[in-house]
C-alpha cells in the first residue's frame, strides 16, 4: 500500500478522538461543506465499529434533510446532534474561535466569510472537535480579534458541551473547559515539543511524556481508499481526487 498521506493521518487522528471514551458518546455527527477530513474521520470511526449516523449538510442529491439547514439548527437546538466540527481564521488558548475576520475592527486586516452557525452550534452541540490544518502563530493566537463563539461560558448560560480537542497539521491538543486551557496530547510525525511551542501563539500545558499521533492501520487505509472514498466522492470530489488520486475506471 502506498505511503500514508498527511490527510490520512489527520483523518485517523480525528477518528481516534471520535471513538475515545467520553461522557457523551457520538450517535449523530453533522459535517459541512468545508470539512472533508472530518467527514472521512466520521466514516472511519464507523468502519472501526462505532454506530454513528453522519449527516452531510452539503450532499446535493440524497441530502439528509428536507428543510435545509433550518432543520440542522433545530436538531442541534434539541440536542439531537452529538458532534460537530468547527475551525476558524483564529483560535485562541481558551478555545475561542473567530470565523469573521482579523484586525481591529474585525475584518480590517482580513475579512473572512462570516460566523455561519458557529455561535449557536458551539453551545448547543455536546462535543466539538476544532480542526485547522494551518498551525502557525497567526492562527493559534493568545486572544482572538473577534469572538464568533466562546470556548467556555459562565454559569447561567446554557451550554451542552465544549471543544473536546483541537487538531492541527502539527499536533493534537486536548481541551479542559474547567481551566479553559489546552494541553499538548499528541505530536504528528516530524514534530517536536519545541517545534509545536514555537508555532503556537497561545500558552498551553505540556505533560512530561507526549506520545506520537497514532498512524492509520493498514485496514484503515484500505477502508479510506476504498468504500469511504466511494461514499464521499460526490460530496468532496476535489478533495478525494487530490488525496486518494484518480478514481479507478
Amino acid at each position: 500500500m502506498s505511503a500514508v498521506t498527511t490527510e490520512e493521518r489527520l483523518i485517523a487522528a480525528i477518528a481516534d478522538l471520535i471513538t475515545a471514551p467520553h461522557p457523551h458518546p457520538v450517535r449523530h455527527a453533522a459535517v459541512g461543506a468545508a470539512s472533508p477530513i472530518p467527514a472521512h474521520a466520521v466514516l472511519l470511526a464507523r468502519h472501526r465499529g462505532a454506530d454513528i449516523r453522519l449527516s452531510l449538510l452539503q450532499k446535493r442529491v440524497g441530502n439528509p434533510f428536507t428543510e435545509g439547514t433550518r432543520e440542522l439548527f433545530d436538531l442541534a437546538g434539541q440536542g439531537r446532534i452529538d458532534l460537530f466540527f468547527l475551525g476558524g481564521v483564529q483560535i485562541d488558548g481558551s478555545a475561542n474561535i473567530n470565523l469573521l475576520g482579523t484586525g481591529s475592527p474585525p475584518g480590517s486586516a482580513a475579512r473572512l466569510p462570516g460566523n455561519f452557525g458557529a455561535p449557536f452550534m458551539y453551545l448547543t452541540v455536546p462535543r466539538t472537535i476544532l480542526f485547522r490544518e494551518e498551525h502557525s502563530p497567526r492562527v493559534l493566537v493568545p486572544k482572538v480579534d473577534y469572538v464568533s463563539a466562546p470556548g467556555v461560558s459562565p454559569p447561567g448560560v446554557f451550554r451542552r458541551g465544549h471543544a473536546q480537542a483541537l487538531v492541527t497539521g502539527r499536533c493534537v491538543f486536548a481541551f479542559d473547559p474547567v481551566r479553559a486551557r489546552f494541553t499538548l496530547a499528541a505530536l504528528h510525525p516530524g514534530e517536536t515539543r519545541a517545534s509545536v511551542r514555537s508555532a503556537t501563539g497561545f500558552d498551553y500545558d505540556e505533560p512530561a511524556e507526549v506520545p506520537l499521533t497514532r498512524a492509520p492501520s493498514e485496514d484503515d487505509l484500505a477502508a479510506l481508499r476504498g468504500p469511504i472514498r466511494a461514499a464521499l466522492e460526490d460530496t468532496y470530489p476535489a478533495f478525494c481526487a487530490r488525496v486518494f488520486g484518480a478514481k479507478a475506471a
Binding site: 433550518r70 437546538g77 475584518g107 466569510p113 462570516g114 460566523n115 455561519f116 466562546p150
Partner: protein, 281 residues
Amino acid sequence: MTVPLLDLDALAARVPDGATVALPPDTSLCPVALAAALIRRGARNLHLIGVPVSGFATDLLIGAGCVARLTTSAVTLGEAGLAPRFTAAFRAGTVVIEDWTCPAVHTALQAAEKGVPFLPLRGLIGSDLVAARTDWRVIDNPFSAAPDSIVLVPALSPDVALIHAALADRAGNVWVGRRRELATIAHASKATLVTVERVVEGNLMEDERMAPGVISSLYVSAVAVAEHGAWPLGLLDLYGPDQAAIESYARAARTEEGFRAWLATNLPLTARSADVASAAA
C-alpha cells in the same frame, strides 16, 4: 387572486429600489437569472438578506452596485473561495454589512411567519455578535427557576423573497422539492417572486405526491420562466453547479474590470447596466 406569469424583466421590475430582499444560499434554489435581470434594470440600494448565508448571486449584485446593505451569516463561493466583490465592498465600505448567524436568520423569519414580534434562540451568548446586534435582547428565561440567559431575535419580514424553483403550475403554485426551508422565506416575506425552469399543466397542490414540496400560490406574487435560471449554480437533481464557471468568476472578479468582463461574456444581457453602474461610480 391570480398569480401573473410574466417575462423575466417584468418580474425584476417588481423589486423596487431600496427593497429588503431575501435570497436563498447557492445550494438551495438561488435565482441567478433573476439577479442578472435586477442588474439589467439597474436596481439600487437593495438590502439583501442571506437566508442564512450568501454566495454567487449576492456577489454579482454587490459588484454591479445594486446593494446598499447586506444582512447575512457568511458570504462565500464555497470551493471557489471568498466572494471577491463582497470582499472588495467590505474593504471600501460601500456596503453596510450586518453579520448574523445562520439559526438567527431562520428564527427571525419563523417569528415573522408566525406573526409574533420575536422568538428566543439558544446559544450565541458570549459571541461578539450579540453585542453588535443592538436590536436583539438577552433576557432571563421567565419559565426557569435557575438563572438562564437567552437571546430574543426580532421578527424579520423581507419586502420580497426571490426564488428559482423547478416547476410552477398555471395557478402559481411552485415546486421546490425537498428544499422546504424556502417555504419559510415565502411565508415570512411580504411578496415572493419566483423564476422556474418550466410551467406545467395541472395543479401541483392537488397532486398528493408533489404537494409536500410545493409553496402554495397563496404566497406567490408572480412567476417567470428562466430556463437554467440557477446557472452557474445547481438546481436540486436537475443540474449540478458549473464549477468551472464559478471558479472562472472567482478569479476574474478579483478586479472591477475582470468582474465586468466576466458579466459581459457570461451573462451578456447584464453588461449594459454594469457599464452604466461603473460610469455612475
